[in-house]
Amino acid sequence: MHDDRPSPGDEARQDAVLKRLLAAALAPDLEASKRPSAASIRAYLVGHATGDQEAEIRRAMLYSRTFAEEMLEYLRAGQDLRDPGLKRRLDAVQVPLTDLIASAKRALRPSDARSSGIGEPAGGRRETEPVGARPNGAGGWWQRTGATLMDWLWRPGVGYALATAAVLGFVLLPHPAGDGKKASPIPGLPVELVMLATERSDRGIGSNAFQAVPAQVDGAQTELVVEQPVDPSHVLWFETTLDRIGPLGDVQPLVYLAENRRFRPVRADLAYPALLVDASLLVPGRYELTFVPVSADSTRLDDLTCRSRFAVSAR
C-alpha cells in the first residue's frame, strides 16, 4: 500500500513549496477584497454574526493576514477577559515598574512632559531608549518623521488594516479642470482603488492591506496621494514613477517625473507625496507608484523611498 506520509524533512520541504504555491494562487484575489463593515466585525467578535456577515469576515481573514491578525488579537482579548484564572497569573508577574517608569519619563519630550504634567528635569534626554532594548539607529528628522508615520500605522483598523503597514489611504480625488469647472466624466469609470501594499525603504515594512477606495473620477486629472509623511523642509521634490503591471509581471511605464514637487500638506512640518495624473490612465489593472525623495542639496534619499502598489477595478 502506498504511504502518503512524508518524512519530517520532506514534510517541511513540502510545506515550503505549498506555501509558495498558495501565495501565488492567492495573489490575484487580493484586489477583490475589502475590509468588512464595523458592524460585521463587532458581530463576529461576539459570536452573533449572520451568515452573510460571517462569510464577509472569513473572506477578509483569508485574503489579508493583517486583518486576520487583528481579528485574532481581538478574539484573544475577549478570551482573556473571560478567563477566570487570568487574574492569578497576572498577579504572579514581577513588573520592573521602577525601570519602566524611569524609561517612560525619559521618553517624554520636555515640552510634552510639561503639558502632560509628568516632570522631566531640564536638559533631560529627549530620545527614547527602551529598557534593555537596542537603539534604533541614527536619529534625525527622518526618524522623527518615521515616528509620526508609525503613529498612524499602529492604529488597528484605521483606514484599513493599519497596523504594520504604511499608509493605506490612497486618495483619488476629482480635480477641477480650469476655472473650477469639471471636465467630462471619463468613460469606464467610476473605478475603485484597492491598496495592495505600501512599503518604505527605511522601515522595511509592508502592508497586505486592501482598502478599497470608491472613487468617482469626474475630472480630467486625478491626484494620487500616498499617506507616507515626509518633512517638506528637507524634501524638495520626488523622483516619481507610475508603472502599470501587466498580467505576466511586465512593466509598462506610464509616468516619469524627475522633479515632482507636488505635496499634500498635512501640517507645517509634514506632507504626503502626491502625483497628479490623467485620470484616463487609470484603467482597471495593477499599478506601482514610486516616490524617491530628493533633498535640498539634490541628494536622492533612497532610504526614504516609498513604493506603493494598488489596483484599479471597475465598480
Partner: protein, 204 residues
C-alpha cells in the same frame, strides 16, 4: 454598566476605558497603571508575533511596546478611538504590529514572509502558465474551510489554537482543527499530483 477600576484589566475590556481619561487628569497614575497592567498582560498572554522572539527577549519587547505608546505625552495612546470593541484588543493589535515591525527591521535572521507581492521584472510565460494551473487546482477546492485552514496554517503560520479561535469553535476542538488541516493538506497534495505537480519534486 458600572465603570471598571482603571487599575484593573476589566477596565481594558471596555471600549472606552477610564485609564484614557486619567491621562490628562492624573498622568502619573495613568502611567503607572498603564505600565503595570500592560506589562503583566504582554508577559502572560503575548500577542501572536511575540512567538518569533526568543523567550529571553520578550521582556525587552514588552518594554519597547509600552514605551512606544506612552512616549511624547502618551501620543500614540491618545490615537485610540472607541469603535465599540474592547480597548484590550486594540492594545494587543498594536503590540503585535510593533513586534512585527521590530522583526522586519531589526531581526533579519528571522524570516517572516508576507503575502505575495505583485510580480515585477521580466515576465516568465512558463512560470505564469504553471502558476495559473496551480491556482486553478487550489481554487477548485470545494471545501471552503480547507482553503482557510491551508492559508492560515501555511501562509500566516497560525497555530491550531489560533485557528480554532478564528473559526469561533470551542477551545477544546483545536486537535480536531489540526486533523482537519492535515486532511486538507493531504487532499491538496493528491490533487496536485493528479495534475502532474508533485510538491516533493518542485524546487521553488
Amino acid at each position: 454598566m458600572p465603570m471598571a477600576d482603571s487599575g484593573s484589566l476589566d477596565d481594558w475590556g471596555q471600549s472606552s476605558p477610564s485609564i484614557l481619561g486619567e491621562i490628562d487628569r492624573d498622568p502619573d497614575r495613568a502611567l503607572h497603571v498603564f505600565m503595570d497592567i500592560g506589562y503583566r498582560h504582554l508577559m502572560v498572554s503575548p500577542p501572536g508575533a511575540f512567538r518569533y522572539f526568543e523567550e529571553n527577549r520578550r521582556h525587552d519587547l514588552a518594554c519597547e511596546v509600552l514605551l512606544s505608546l506612552v512616549a511624547d505625552g502618551f501620543r500614540r495612546l491618545r490615537l485610540y478611538e472607541d469603535d465599540g470593541r474592547p480597548f484590550l484588543g486594540w492594545f494587543r493589535t498594536v503590540a503585535n504590529n510593533k513586534a512585527r515591525d521590530i522583526l522586519k527591521k531589526g531581526n533579519r535572521e528571522v524570516q517572516v514572509e508576507d503575502l505575495p507581492e505583485v510580480p515585477t521584472g521580466t515576465p516568465d510565460p512558463v512560470a505564469a502558465v504553471f502558476a495559473e494551473r496551480v491556482r486553478a487546482i487550489i481554487l477548485s477546492t470545494e471545501n471552503r474551510q480547507c482553503r482557510e485552514l491551508l492559508v492560515w496554517r501555511l501562509l500566516y503560520e497560525f497555530t491550531n489554537q489560533e485557528i480554532t479561535l478564528l473559526l469561533g469553535e470551542p477551545a477544546d476542538r483545536n486537535a480536531d482543527v489540526g486533523n482537519r488541516y492535515r486532511n486538507c493538506r493531504i487532499a491538496l497534495i493528491r490533487r496536485l499530483r493528479e495534475h502532474g505537480i508533485d510538491p516533493s519534486d518542485l524546487d521553488l
